[in-house]
């Protein structure tokens, strides 16, 4: 009898597993029409992950010199750039940087004044319509939380493991892949049989493949200052793409480092506390048959 029940049980489990695998075999993102970005070894991934300050500073440079001419970052304030856990510029650097920008201010003489650390990053266009007009009808998305507004849909069972590994870097993976996803010989780039609308560019990772943004990066287009150790960072599209993706992740999640640090203390406390609670509970119940 027990044997029969166990067999029955096993059959149910096997059937359930088979059904799950069967369901999962259909790629969930097949309809999205973009290739799957490869996972990168980000410094901010995992429970011990923190931002690489140098990388964020380089990424900010790429953002400022390249991306910011079309993309806004309306939730970024200059002061954020000197806050701990981020690019960690000095307050003097941020003050000087902000002063380079003219901030629209109706109370100032002439309607504009030099920026201060408390100001938000000025947007390149006055409104969405102007942004579209300047970009062939496409709206360059705001960067503030873009790295969290993009993601990678993982097939089963990967998405289950993600809950245990805390994988949150899909947005950075996607943005990096997108920046590297253009084909070499622009603009005659679309594979045969793909009808690329005029003014669009073919990208392996963009949903639908036809993206309005021209390849923004080129080797050597941003000049990095070598670090104090004199080691030069390669000035390649791949390096720029990686750095700016990391910067965008910080921009979207500026308190990641302190959040994880607090998390360690909280989890450590909870685990120890739970252990003590369990010991107390056991002792209390020891005399009771239950």
């Amino acid at each position: 009898m027990t044997g029969a029940i166990n067999m029955f049980k096993n059959k149910i489990i096997i059937a359930a597993v088979a059904a799950m695998v069967g369901l999962a075999a259909v790629p969930a993102n097949a309809a999205e029409g973009g290739a799957r970005p490869e996972r990168q070894a980000w410094s901010f991934a995992g429970i011990f992950g923190t931002y690489d300050q140098n990388q964020l500073q380089r990424g900010f440079q790429v953002f400022r010199e390249v991306c910011a001419s079309c993309h806004s970052a309306r939730l970024l304030a200059f002061r954020n750039l000197s806050e701990p856990g981020g690019p960690d510029f000095s307050e003097a650097q941020v003050k000087a940087l902000a002063a380079e920008y003219d901030i629209a201010d109706p109370t100032a003489e002439g309607g504009a004044r030099p920026g201060v650390a408390a100001d938000r990053w000025p947007s390149p266009f006055a409104n969405d319509q102007e942004a579209r007009d300047a970009n062939g009808g496409s709206l360059p998305p705001d960067f503030s939380v873009l790295a969290k507004a993009r993601g990678v849909v993982d097939p089963f069972p990967t998405w289950v493991f993600n809950y245990f590994t805390g994988y949150q870097e899909g947005g950075a993976d996607y943005i990096r892949a997108l920046l590297l996803g253009y084909h070499d010989e622009v603009p005659g780039t679309a594979p045969e049989g793909f009808e690329l609308p005029e003014g669009k560019y073919y990208n392996d990772y963009f949903p639908g493949h036809a993206i309005g943004m021209a390849p923004p990066l080129a080797d050597g287009s941003v000049t990095y200052t070598p670090g104090e150790d004199g080691v030069a960072v390669p000035e390649t599209v791949e390096q720029y793409a990686t750095d700016v993706s990391a910067f965008m992740m910080w921009l979207a999640e500026p308190h990641l480092v302190s959040r994880k640090q607090t998390g360690f203390a909280v989890l450590l406390f909870l685990v120890l506390f739970a252990g003590l609670m369990y010991a107390t509970k056991r002792k209390l119940w020891a005399g009771i048959e239950h």
Binding site: I12, V145, G151, Y167, R259, A274
Partner: protein
Amino acid sequence: MSEHSTYTPGNAVEKWLDDRLPVVRFAKEHLMDFPTPKNLNYWWTFGAILVMCLGVQIVTGVILAMHYTPNIGLAFDSVEHIRRDVNGGRIIQATHAVGASMFFVALYIHMFRGLFYGSYKAPREIIWILGVLIFILTVATAFMGYILPWGQMSFWGATVISNIFSAIPLIGENIKQLVLGGFAVGNPTLNRFFSLHYLLPFVIAAIVALHIWALHVPGNNNPIGVEVKESRDTVPFHPYYTMKDLFAMVLFMIPFAWFVFFAPDILGHPDNYIMADSQVTPAHIVPEWYLLPFYTILRAIDFNVLFIDSKLGGVIAMGGALLMLLIVPWLDTSKVRSGTFRPMFKWFYALFAINFVGLTYLGAQPAEGIYTVLAKVCTAYYFLYFLVILPVLSRIEVTKPLPTSISESVLGKAHA
């Protein structure tokens, strides 16, 4: 209930208070001395965990409301303002968002525990019905809460779900307009959802009080489903169950904290980091995971039945799936409460649990191909389980012999 009371006022002040408002006596009777079956397992700790979840949501929610702005032009940025600029805001916001998911994890476990151990059977029908009301109100509250960040999924989720009302014949369109405050989801919708999202948790808290009151009349059910017969079947709630429940709460906080601190966005949808845009429809509109089983049932009815079109049919099925829970005590008439002693019930119950996971999974998949077929199969089993399997099993099942009492059962286990 006063027969459990061992309270004697310790001094003149306590005596004075006890004669006028016996709150201390009440607390002593119901939070400390209350006789509780001694064989409750850890599935029984989820009631206390749910009280904690509701408390966490209310406390974090009240703080969030101090910084949030319910206006379609400002809501999205005000939530980001909380994450970026409010002291500890990232953690408070993450706790509230993750807390909703954890609330439903506990809620589903609590309900499935009741379904397995027959906790809804006489004399506990009212406890169960109040519980179902709490569940439905929690679904409504969570749904309205998801609108508030005013992201793409907020907006389109609200658009899809509010369309449900328009399926009601004759008055549907009017109800929909009343709910939305207009013809489409907009600023009036956001404002009334915010108002109701703040109100409903307190209504839930009130029903929770009734739920616990109703529980304290017959006392707890227990894993063997045999009523308490003598005082040695029970232990006082405090310290035995206060300790056990507190331990379980701390244990529950561990995965909770894991998500809050290490993966706060993993349970949400990336599209909700895009501000709501009525001109751009997301590729897939998916509700939060805890609503997926019922979303699957809504979508599974894609065919007309006589004069009922598929849209109304889906709404009837989804509403029915929720409301049917109210009559479960009268669908399952088996005299034996606990599934442990019901050899056939066990298997149908296990299949029901797997089926429910299946409904959840299917809700996140596009309604095409094999998924629509599976959705119909799973929906059919959901209804069959309650409407056919439970009533039939009650008649034909040969149950195993029950232990005569809780004490006999635990002694048998201890010496086995």
